[in-house]
Amino acid sequence: MAATAAAAVLSSGRFYALIGFEIHVKLATHSKMFSSSSSAPAQTTNSQVTPFDMALPGSLPYFNRTCLEAGIRAAIGLNCQLNKISHFERKHYFYPDSPAGYQITQQRYPFASNGVFHYPLLIKKDKLKSSTKYKFVDNQNSFVIKQCRIERIQLEHDTGRSIHDDHQNRTLIDLNRFGTGLIEIVTKPDIQSSLEGESFLRELNRLLIKYNICEQSGLETAVRVDANVSLHRMNTKPDGNRIEIKNLGSFIDVRQAIDFEIKRQEQLLTNNYSIKNETRTYDTNKYQTIHLRRKEDQIDYRFMIEPNLPPLYLYDDNDKHIYGKNFVNIDDIKRNIPISPLDERKQYLDKYKDFLTAEHLHELLRLDMIDYFRDVMTHLDNNHLRHIALEVLLSDVKSISYDGRKIRKFAQAVSPILFADIIKHLEKRIITRFSLYTLLTLCNKSRDSTRSLKSFLDEHNMYAINDENELEKICLKILEENPKQIDRYKTNPKKALEQLHTSVCKKYHGRIHDDLVNDVFKRLLDKRIK
């Protein structure tokens, strides 16, 4: 496994890795960056195109303010310095899905630079074995926090979509996507392993969605990642050479590509080959990176300032005497920005310190349950109930929905209000702990979040049996059906009670509380023995 091999390379003490990212984020806007056609995905081919998108003569770019505001929110979230004056540039290359022959970007004069992003280390279940040396929680109330410097954030637009038809030797072009607003986030090479890389991207993904910068689906569709990976011998300085891995579209691809590349470079260095600048891509079928082009084949993009767009000015409260309402005030955006995911988690640890630890929060983060947890907490009015809810989330719900996609579906089927109602019923002993997993599974499968809890309980007869007389009748009946357990109780009471408990649960579908039924069995069996 590449993951284990890469972890072994890094923990050997002979090498260290430097990893940086270039992340392209599709902005959540209705219209495109420089034209007013729709930026909605998956529409009829070539139906969202303006003359500018086709580079027709005479058409000019007209910059979308909403794209700028989304970019500024990203810059604030990544603690970047906002450059009050920035320029758009043309990046020239010929390709059929780019009708103008250039892309408008901000390579040399970005609107934001010199930031730093803090993120907690996270781990997915399958990485547990190879990552046991990592420490995730600093103490009871805090995570291990890593940081990665942000070199720059630049505004640019997307290109059209190309479909290669090898048999007919042609390329089919759809310009719907051309001109959609993007930001490119370029980091410094501060990441040192695939685990840190994945943790960084997951936290960044959380920030982008929370600040309404990109669409809800995040890395899977709205974000593309290029990773720059280089491995160096310990106690040597980096020589600047690195491998660029293009177009990684999922967290798993990022992790696997980095692990493969670390192992590959280790083999080269061990055999006294040097690492030369190269561009590679990741093959998701073969789980390896493959060569695209060498440094000598690098494209000369002939950057030049975009002559059709004047310089972009940003303002703040100090410039009130200069700007009008038509311009963007950075301080206005800062005042309205929500709390960062990291600060929000610190708040939870403080607010729920009676029962919530950093370990719990780390587990909720790992399982992508943090938003569901937050919503459930708001519907429960005391810490006792909240504690029960947390325990159920990290046991029963975790078993039902063990990854991000499943938890999102669970959250739609079992609304936070319904879940809170279930917890209140549990606390009042209207339902048993034992029946909870079955109840949650039934609610999840029904996919009807408007249905009341009462309707589920009535339909499947899941109310707990609390009446003592009825309990005694049930226990007597079970004892008659299991005479061997009565004899067994004399020699091994614990085992006998377990067997009787199992029988009663099977027969009555978990409607009986553990503590009550054990007490009744003990009383009846002691009476019989005497």
Binding site: T29, S36, S38, M54, F63, Y93, D174
Partner: protein
């Protein structure tokens, strides 16, 4: 009289510059030829064309003799303007072309896609492959 002296001096500087350039001829090697062809999408087919390109570069090199130390480049005629912002993020149906308008000047189309000759994958592009013979 002073105008005449100025003219003679300018002409003399020009002559000197031309001589300087002629003594350093431009030569396009095979790597540079490949790079220029790739960037311009123009094939330089024969020696005669390459020679013409060399001469053009040669003549244009005179521009490097200008002293621009005290100047800033004029990137755009509107550099003193502020970048205008489209204030509302609304979709304009009037400005969006209909599909038939997008395709009307295309020589080849296929199922409402524009058709371009295959020139190879671009590494930064998410590319889909489809065999349209089986559609």
């Amino acid at each position: 009289m002073s105008l005449f002296i100025l003219f003679r001096r300018s002409f003399s500087i020009l002559q000197q510059t031309k001589e300087k350039i002629l003594s350093n001829p431009i030569k396009i090697d095979i790597d540079m030829q490949n790079k220029l062809e790739h960037l311009s999408l123009i094939s330089f087919q024969d020696e005669k064309t390459i020679k013409k390109v060399e001469q053009t570069i040669h003549s244009s090199n005179i521009i490097h003799q200008a002293n621009v130390d005290h100047l800033q480049p004029l990137y755009t005629l509107v550099e003193t303007e502020l970048c205008p912002l489209r204030q509302t993020d609304t979709i304009s149906i009037e400005k969006t072309l209909q599909t038939k308008q997008v395709l009307e000047n295309a020589a080849n189309i296929y199922e409402e896609h524009l058709v371009a000759p295959m020139i190879g994958k671009r590494e930064s592009q998410t590319v889909e492959k489809v065999d349209t013979t089986k559609l």
